[in-house]
Symmetry: C2
Subunit: 303 residues, 2 copies
């Protein structure tokens, strides 16, 4: 089983319109509500891959119940620790290909609520092969939260977050951290253009046993104790970068659970990222796109 | 007890921002979620007046549960008949005083679901003094729905809707129908400017024992079997017209339950409408504004 931790889930509501009349009443022609937040994208992808997955996290209020209900509908097992606060919504208005998003802040998490989550977390990990920790921390939780959870895990951890939570999480020695280029740039304070610059910056993320950097159209770069690899993706990859990054995290956790060697691990991660980027909805991909991409990805050792 | 029927309730979500970045990710500085739909505004106003109120209607899915939860939080008793479909949301984005609203369509109501509602409706009306029927009909219900409910009520009914549902509802002889000027104009196909024109149009709404027309800053005009009255409101009345109309419907139902004579009835209705228009949130008013408005309203018989 792979445990996916989503401390700050969301209900993503999308309204499709032809044209928005600002300052007026609009009637969307299509409405979609789905579980959101990076961790839930990871969980959906793992579920689609046929992996045995369990979502843990914190959810509260009616919106929390909405997230749980939509995961149930998708067949993704979840056991959220209850929260007094209300789980956040994101609201996206899509008109004519343009997306305007409104992201509510996450609910404040109290120390007793997090302590309760910790109990649920340690119980669930007893039967797990890997854990994915993904997304931003909700208000109230310190930047060292992921580090604490990685230390307590006892199984390989994949960490996908940013800023101080990433820096401190990496120091707690997860199996993999998966920043994207912008997150790595923010952390190092440098612009990272060439493969050498990215590899050097990844090496500075102290602690993690491997750093896998998602580079959009340029694929992935992995800096591990056994060497560095680059996985180049076919040109079809375009569009939904968030979903693609989450698919990469899912594939990496899946690779750990399956005991794949690094080059295989990266081939699958890059292919799944490419297939997911080609889909319009984050966390979804077409099986055929995945298979096509698997054949097209080129993995080579670098440096 | 006053029964308030809300067949198409909503969860109203409001995001407050300084400025919206269209095509970007925005982080609202305040988020509010409250029960919405005209009937629920009426019920909240009656509850604030201290009236014994019960909300009936149709609600489904997580958003339906959200509406029920927020009514519970407000202390407004409600007993919705369950619906398979998902209750609608409205999203309002407020930036710099400008409101852009996105109204989801209501869920389709099936005949068996409405039959179940009918049973709940007739049971609740056994102990009621009046019933308010308010708002649009959800998809799936015929235009004669309010007419049927008025005929089955056995207690005085106040009807606040528009179009064919209003015309057919009026023919079923409710105690009061409460159109606004625009709704009456749409029904008669004429522009209604003068008091005489409004009175004549109200007289054409066949069946209803009284027609009370809300005229915004010009107050109310009532055409009844006992004569016609105009209630003029103080100039403070401005702004939130929807909420004001719902407050008028609430006051009219309250007046029926209390057995108020027509002039008193209208004084209270106009004053409550004015106090509600002065508040920023539909369905809310300050008690002091209500008392001040009560003193300032002028009711006179016309024609």
């Amino acid at each position: 089983m792979i445990v996916v931790v989503c401390l700050n889930p969301a209900l993503d509501v999308t309204h499709q319109l032809d044209t928005v009349g600002w300052g007026r009443v609009n009637r969307p022609r299509a409405v979609h509500a789905r579980p959101g937040g990076k961790g839930l994208n990871v969980a959906r992808t793992l579920h689609a891959l046929g992996a045995d997955v369990l979502v843990l996290g914190l959810a509260g209020g009616i919106t929390g119940a909405g997230v749980e209900a939509s995961l149930r509908e998708l067949g993704v097992p979840a056991a959220f620790t209850p929260l007094t606060g209300e789980t956040r919504r994101t609201f996206s208005v899509v008109d004519n290909g343009r997306v305007t998003a409104f992201h509510e802040p996450g609910p404040e998490v109290g120390a007793p609520e997090f302590a309760e989550f910790r109990v649920d977390y340690e119980k669930a990990l007893a039967g797990a092969e890997a854990v994915v920790l993904s997304g931003s921390l909700p208000p109230g939780l310190p930047a060292g939260t992921y580090a604490t959870l990685i230390q307590a895990a006892g199984v390989p951890a994949v960490l996908d977050t940013h800023g101080e939570a990433l820096r401190r999480g990496a120091a707690a020695q997860p199996a993999i951290v998966k920043p994207n280029r912008a997150e790595l740039e923010a952390l190092t304070g440098r612009s990272l253009t060439t493969q050498e610059e990215v590899t050097a910056a990844a090496g500075e993320l102290r602690g993690a046993r491997a750093v896998v950097v998602t580079l959009g159209l340029e694929g992935l770069l992995a800096a591990t104790g056994d060497g560095c690899w680059q996985a180049r993706v076919p040109a079809v990859m375009a569009g939904n970068a968030t979903g693609a990054g989450d698919a990469v995290a899912a594939a990496l956790a899946h690779g750990i659970a399956l005991g794949r060697p690094w080059d295989e691990q990266l081939r699958h991660a890059a292919a799944l990222g490419a297939a997911t980027a080609a889909a319009s909805v984050a966390g979804e991909f077409r099986q055929q796109d995945y298979l096509d991409a698997l054949r097209a990805v080129a993995v080579e050792e670098v440096r």
